[in-house]
């Protein structure tokens, strides 16, 4: 029996070590970003993919982009708690909100049947922070991560073909996408009742203020047609109504660029109907930091 147990133990160790080695490859960009924090930040942003509009590299400032595609406010709150030890005193916390933010549920259900949305959170957040945590899910997440790392070992060697698209075609594709994106975002904005999201956001704002941080609500620029397809009534009812309540309740700074004339009509600044491209990001960041300067929130900021 002893010999059998020793052999099984050694075999399990061998497999376990190999899996651990694969796990450490960290090919998941998002998890890597959250687990390799090596500085304290002056400014961070949370939020959905719309948080990608900020470019901190242009300035002499320690900034961190911690947004995530389709992120729910619940996980913005958890990410904020996770990042708190890495924030400088009176750091700025940008909360980029999307039209659908108040309607997302905790597990952000717009991810198909398997709903892998929360998988990445299992990799770095404490268990108590994960909504409807199960150990089984955690084990599956680790195994999937290992599988992904293993396959990425081979994927890396393959060169990705770059497809050249003319500007005219690109604009046409972008316009074609508007209706579909609006339809999908409206769906996302209806998953949950807004009350829990308002509560999560309130908790974040209150805690940030209590600790001397500066929370700022931001809506990044969207392409004009995107706003038009959403329609003023929908946006007012599902978005601005709650934004206004929060601003009044907590005396918050809110910077709204959603329909800003400097961005919205210019298709060449967008990579899709609601995301800026590289040129758009740089232009937006200049405008955004200038506004922070004028509001006295961030002084003496210098270009690199």
């Amino acid at each position: 029996m002893r010999r059998f147990l020793i052999n099984i133990f050694l075999f399990v160790c061998l497999i376990g070590l190999s899996l651990y080695g694969l796990l450490q490859l960290h090919t998941n960009f998002y998890v890597k970003k959250f687990t390799n924090i090596n500085k304290n930040y002056d400014i961070i942003n949370l939020g959905t993919s719309h948080g990608n509009s900020f470019n901190y590299n242009m300035y002499k400032i320690d900034g961190g982009k911690f947004h995530r595609r389709g992120n729910s406010i619940y996980y913005d709150l958890q990410n904020y708690y996770y990042l708190k030890p890495h924030l400088k005193d009176s750091a700025i916390i940008i909360l980029p909100l999307s039209y659908f933010s108040f309607g997302l549920d905790e597990n952000s259900t717009d991810r198909g049947e398997i709903n892998p949305f929360v998988n990445d959170f299992y990799r770095y957040l404490p268990r108590k922070s994960i909504y409807s945590y199960t150990p089984k899910r955690e084990a599956d997440v680790y195994l999937n991560e290992i599988k992904l790392n293993f396959f990425n070992l081979f994927e890396k060697s393959k060169k990705k073909e770059k497809i050249e698209i003319s500007e005219l075609d690109r604009n046409e594709i972008l316009l074609d996408k508007v209706s579909k994106r609006v339809e999908s975002h409206k769906k996302m904005g209806m998953y949950s009742s807004p009350q829990p999201n308002i509560a999560y956001l309130s908790e974040l704002i209150l805690d940030a203020k209590k600790n001397g941080y500066k929370p700022i609500l931001v809506t990044t620029p969207y392409f004009k047609r995107y706003n038009e397809e959403f329609g003023n009534t929908w946006i007012k009812e599902h978005y601005y109504k709650y934004i206004d309540t929060l601003i009044n309740q907590y005396q918050l700074v809110y910077l709204d660029y959603s329909d800003d004339e400097r961005f919205s009509p210019n298709i060449e600044l967008f990579k899709d109907p609601d995301h800026l491209n590289q040129i758009g990001k740089e232009k937006f960041s200049k405008v955004f930091f200038q506004d922070l300067n004028e509001l006295g929130i961030l002084k003496r900021i210098k270009l690199k």
Binding site: M1, F4, N7, I15, S18, L19, K136, D140, K147, F150
Partner: protein, 478 residues
């Protein structure tokens, strides 16, 4: 609980540790622990259906005792019919009730009578076809005076519910398994290590081969109208490997797990896809079910004795019943009948026992004639599997129409190279191990330890990394 789950990966070491710790004490306590562990294993899926297992256990235990006590043949017959009635009654109700009601309604409608059917929403209890057959064989063997009834209810309950083979077999005979519960088990290193190897190979078959095939099989069968004949034919081949990997994988894990606990179960699959004719295929596929039908249905009907008409009738009955055992659908019945049609010429020409031994027993490679036999047999089984996999007869016929159209000569639209490579590797292992009870068994003697460990490592890593999306075992639904 399914074998390819985290639950089982936790359950097995715990049960293994407690079981062997109890080995120093009373045998009854150890058997009782097996019963409890088995009930937990089964109840993990749905604890309410444990009542059925307990009921079936009690009925056959009592019937067994009274069968032995009764001298009068009429009373013995009544007792046997009680056992048959209860077991087949449970099976009939849970598995076939709606099928019969629907078919009665269709028949009446055909003759112009309209009736309102009373169908029920019935959940099929996992493993019911397996454990009812196991307990039934116990009562029949006692009736035939081939077996002494047990007076040990714990040992009998352990025999009925033994968790490795409870939900998908092998269907064990009381004469083989029950006496193993009477004897004190001792841990045997070689047996346990080989059991571990068998589990590893079973998991490989299930997770790497069957689950990866399932992905393509589902895609092809769900939208079969969209594909060419060659693609559908490939879908049939993938299903042949899916069902083999799935079911024989389960059997390997069940047998391997039993060996860890000091039990020996009978071999259920013996490399059926290397069969040189259909008769050999049926001696190698789902052996525990085929022999069950042979002993309790085919031979009592007269078997291959009597007139040619009787022989034909008996063959059709056994294959059709075998098909019906798999599920309440005409597709299974036709699958069984088709296999009977394949088998009959061999029986009538007295060529059904030509290929008895292992293919290429004394050589490394098969002869040309053997290769031809293997390919033809495989082709016939693939055609039959199309009925087995289809959801209705309409689908099966439409599917086969496309297979046998001109488009069979085109390049398949679906060509998963990685899966095909995996199947070839798998077949190489099976070929090398074809003389053994499972493909990895011979490795124990032949190769040095580092090489063996390297191979185990690769198999284990491929199970963890190359496995398809986790799916339940196909045979759970039967």
């Amino acid at each position: 609980m399914i074998f390819n789950s985290l639950d089982f990966a936790i359950f097995l070491p715990i049960v293994f540790a407690i079981y062997w710790l109890l080995n120093k004490g009373s045998l009854k306590v150890q058997n009782l622990f097996i019963v409890l562990a088995s009930y937990v294993f089964y109840g993990w899926w749905d604890y309410r259906f444990l009542a059925l297992i307990i009921f079936s256990t009690l009925v056959d235990f009592v019937v067994g005792i009274y069968l032995n006590k009764c001298a009068k043949q009429t009373d013995r017959k009544i007792l046997l019919w009680i056992s048959i009635g209860v077991n087949l009654g449970l099976l009939g109700f849970f598995k076939y009730y709606n099928f019969f009601v629907d078919n009665f309604v269709n028949a009446f409608t055909f003759f112009g009578y309209k009736i309102e059917p009373y169908t029920l929403s019935i959940i099929l209890p996992v493993g019911i076809s397996f454990y009812t057959f196991q307990t039934l064989s116990y009562s029949i063997d006692i009736y035939r005076c081939k077996l002494e009834p047990t007076k040990d209810i714990v040992a009998f309950a352990a025999f009925v519910s033994f968790f490795p083979q409870l939900v998908a077999g092998p269907i064990e005979r009381a004469s083989n398994l029950l006496p193993q519960f009477y004897k004190k088990r001792s841990f045997n290193y070689a047996n346990a290590i080989d059991g571990g190897r068998q589990i590893l190979w079973g998991l490989f078959k299930k997770v790497v081969i069957a689950d990866n095939c399932a992905k393509y099989v589902n895609t092809i069968f769900n939208d079969y109208q969209e594909y060419s004949g060659s693609t559908l034919f490939l879908g049939g081949i993938f299903f042949a490997f899916q069902i083999y990997g799935d079911f024989s994988g389960y059997s390997d894990i069940a047998i391997g797990t039993s060996r860890l606990f000091g039990f020996n179960l009978k071999q259920n699959f013996a490399y059926p896809y290397f069969s040189r004719d259909i008769a050999e295929f049926w001696r190698r596929w789902h052996i525990s079910l085929s022999t069950w039908f042979r002993d309790y249905l085919y031979i009592p009907l007269g078997g291959s004795r009597g007139t040619k008409i009787n022989q034909v009738r008996n063959v059709f009955i056994i294959f059709v019943v075998s098909g019906f055992w798999h599920g309440a659908n005409w597709t299974f019945i036709v699958w069984g009948a088709l296999n009977a049609a394949y088998f009959l010429p061999l029986l009538l020409l007295k060529r059904n026992r030509v290929n008895i031994g292992v293919v290429a027993q004394n050589s490394r490679f098969p002869k040309f004639r053997e290769i031809t036999g293997i390919l033809v047999t495989f082709l016939l089984t693939v055609i039959a599997w199309i009925f087995f996999r289809s959801e209705s007869m309409g689908q099966a016929i439409a599917y086969l129409k496309i297979v046998f159209s001109k488009t069979i000569f085109t390049i398949p639209q679906v060509r998963p190279t990685d899966l095909m490579i995996m199947i070839v590797i798998f077949l190489c292992f099976e070929w090398v191990g074809r003389r053994e009870k499972h493909a990895l068994e011979h490795l124990w003697f032949k190769y040095p330890r580092p090489l063996r460990w390297g191979l185990y490592f690769c198999i284990a890593m491929s199970i963890l990394l190359l496995g398809g999306e986790a799916k339940e075992f196909i045979y759970f639904q039967f």
